[in-house]
Symmetry: C2
Subunit: 186 residues, 2 copies
């Protein structure tokens, strides 16, 4: 039986990320799981305007999206609990820079996407930052046949509905493929 | 060791959805996994402009986002392989309507979000549709203490990197909580 719940967002899980930006020339990281995909090269981040990170992204027009592993869940959650105004969160990690030079990335995260800001949407209390991925870095041990393998990355999946983190389960089907088993209904 | 991969989008997994829209007064469904979250009530969908669904969303200013379970993977994949121009995909499912009256929803999907279109972003070859969730419907057996429980929903997670579908794994930590174990680095 269907029940109505009011307007409840159930579009989960999403991958938890640590977003890096330089602020006044120093690296800072914030936890962001309200992300989106526009296409294969463009992604979106939703960050409350009051957060410290926004000024850095707007100043440099660059940011990074770092994918932490399940073993980093405490630090990942922590970076969403405290502000870079008060705490130097970069001390928790080893930072490296890439070709854009102003987007700090976290070495301990198995995957890092270096992004150029291409558009900012003013959306109520939030900024939606749309970024173009310009380079992706991966730990070599997280690749299978030169492609990032999420079973090795072990991303931290976020579910807002009950404020929890989940692991990725098993791969069980191929996309653009298993649907061919369906007989046309016409 | 870090290796560079070029601009590779690794912001996965995302939940696979079946997006419903009326087109010329008839229900149609399309598979969409390039989704995003703006905040707790607003979500985004990225759909190629050439797809049949776009006209229906723009005509009615409404759409639905249906969350299929792993057992529906064949039909879910199929709805991304064929066009509503050619095939009456609504025949695959039982359709119901809610308060907006023009956003068809799939009864077999355990969770359905009924949305009002609030903004369309013209983004290269794609439309980014931003919707406000106005009502959420759930099968009662997918709730735990009146809240949607993703371990019961069993969503189909999409990973574009290797064109595959994955299951959700175990819940392993509480958000806005486990980070309190981290000692301040300052």
């Amino acid at each position: 039986m269907k029940v109505t719940l009011g307007a409840k967002n159930c579009l989960y899980p999403t991958p938890s990320t640590l977003v890096g930006a330089n602020i006044h020339g120093k690296p800072n990281y914030i936890t962001v799981a309200h992300v989106g995909i526009m296409n294969q090269v463009y992604i979106s981040l939703s960050i409350a305007k009051r957060r410290y990170t926004n000024a850095g992204i707007l100043e440099n027009q660059t940011f990074s999206v770092n994918i932490p592993s399940v073993g980093m869940v405490e630090k990942t959650d922590y970076c969403g609990l405290v502000s870079g105004k008060d705490i130097d969160k970069a001390k928790l990690f080893e930072t490296f820079y890439g070709k854009l030079e102003t987007a700090p990335m976290i070495k301990e995260c198995p995957v890092n996407m270096e992004c150029r800001l291409i558009q900012t949407i003013d959306f109520q209390e939030r900024n939606i930052f749309i970024g173009e991925i310009v380079e992706t870095y991966s730990d070599d041990e997280c690749l299978t046949e030169d492609v990032v393998d999420l079973s090795k990355v072990q991303p931290i999946l976020f579910v807002m509905i009950n404020r929890s983190y989940w692991k990725l389960g098993q791969q069980f089907a191929k996309a653009w493929s298993i649907g061919k088993n369906v007989k046309s209904p016409d």
